[in-house]
């Protein structure tokens, strides 16, 4: 068995690549230009600044926000003088029992499954990087890509509330207002999107190749 040389990364080759335009340049020449890209002017970093700490901070805020997002009503429906609040889960159950199971599935996936899986996946990625794991990096890279791709779709419920607020203003008959749960839920989606963006997937690979 031959000992494979560690894979040649930009960092190992004393190079840095621009996060915005992809230009690859030697670290020394980047330093001469105050660490800004000569092609597009973006700030150059070999890895995202403080990636793990920032991602943890955002992830924990998202988890905290997720609790009121699910407990508080996201819509307040007023019909014939009576006002009723609906949480996300109550909406899913309503659709499930009124026979609209495809809609129930869409809302459940976008508002409950995706945010929870996303937060779990980010937690796993952070812990595995902090433990210097070299376990199945390709699978972890794919998990990260999935988190990045799918996160924005959780906004569906916020948009549903917006459209209902706009449409259901029929005076005394019925009206719908946005509840405070919607604010927290919208916060969760934005914060988890920022958390995914602040995580640097290159950290997954930095531990691979050193020890084999």
């Amino acid at each position: 068995m031959s000992v494979a040389s560690p894979p040649l990364t930009a960092a190992r080759a004393q190079h840095v690549s621009c996060i915005d335009c992809g230009l690859l340049m030697p670290t020394a020449s980047a330093k001469q230009q105050a660490n800004t890209c000569r092609r597009c002017g973006a700030a150059l970093h070999s890895r995202h600044t403080n990636s793990l700490n920032r991602t943890w901070a955002l992830l924990i805020s998202a988890i905290i926000f997720y609790i009121p997002a699910n407990l508080l009503p996201i819509t307040l429906t007023t019909a014939v003088g009576k006002t009723e609040g609906d949480t996300i889960m109550q909406g899913v159950i309503y659709f499930l029992f009124s026979g609209d199971w495809p809609v129930a599935l869409v809302i459940f996936t976008a508002s409950i499954m995706v945010p929870m899986l996303k937060m779990a996946a980010l937690t796993y990625l952070l812990i595995s990087v902090q433990r210097h794991s070299s376990h199945r990096p390709l699978d972890r890279a794919k998990i990260y890509r999935m988190v990045e791709f799918v996160g924005r779709w959780s906004m569906i419920d916020v948009f549903v509330v917006t459209i209902m607020v706009a449409l259901v203003q029929l005076g005394a008959l019925a009206s719908i207002q946005a509840g405070s749960g919607a604010i927290f839920f919208c916060g969760v989606v934005i914060i988890t999107m920022l958390a995914a963006a602040s995580f640097d997937p290159r950290l997954i690979w930095d531990e691979c190749g050193d020890n084999d």
Binding site: A10, S17, D20, I107, I156, Q177, A182
Partner: protein
């Protein structure tokens, strides 16, 4: 002028895993992936600049229709509410939900409008190998704001809300809603026909104005 050319071989670091990759020359329609983590490194969509211009203009027209024509009408017992795209944002604002109104207007109005006008500002001059002042900054903003352009998610939201409300009263999509539906596909086509690397290389060789 803007015939599809092969992209030259280039050495890049993978944005996802930092591995140095040698990308061979790419003919039109070809793409290259990282040998270690399989991330897409570079594509060469055929006729990128011309298609980008055509699709951007289509998107601008569709968005103008979406904003001006009635979007949805919803009625019960003779009272019919007509809404436009902005009505929801205004409704949230009037209820004191400033944060939600801000987020929805950012993701469905500010970002899409910025992206469409920014692409015009970049692509039209690039077709004649000219770059306007601040072009690199505009392109960086366009690329970084891409995930915050949520028109397609808004469309799914409309469908879900429609199903939710059809039990209460009759719901009718207007011309604005159909234009918006088409806009989703045009926006997706813009994403597929434009490759950042092509734009960066063209900007680099373009004359400053």
């Amino acid at each position: 002028m803007s015939i599809t050319e092969a992209l030259q071989p280039i050495t890049v670091a993978c944005p996802d895993c930092d591995l140095i990759n040698q990308i061979p020359a790419l003919a039109a329609g070809e793409s290259a992936n990282c040998v270690r983590c399989e991330a897409t490194l570079s594509r060469n969509p055929p006729n990128a600049i011309n298609r980008g211009i055509a699709l951007t203009f289509t998107a601008i027209m569709l968005y103008a229709i979406t904003c001006t024509l009635p979007f949805l009408s919803f009625g019960k017992a003779g009272i019919v509410a007509h809404t436009k795209l902005f009505s929801g944002i205004i409704g949230l604002y009037e209820q004191g939900m400033y944060f939600l109104a801000g987020v929805v207007s950012f993701t469905t109005v500010v970002v899409p409008v910025f992206m469409m006008s920014g692409l015009c500002y970049l692509l039209l001059p690039l077709r004649c190998d000219v770059r306007l002042p601040g072009a690199t900054r505009v392109l960086r903003w366009i690329l970084n704001l891409q995930p915050w352009n949520m028109v397609e998610i808004f469309m799914i939201g409309i469908i879900v809300a429609g199903v939710k409300l059809q039990k209460m009263a009759a719901l009718e999509p207007g011309l604005g809603a159909w234009a918006f539906m088409l806009l989703i596909f045009v926006m997706a086509a813009i994403g597929a026909s434009i490759e950042p690397r092509v734009l960066w290389e063209r900007l680099e060789s373009a004359r400053c104005l």
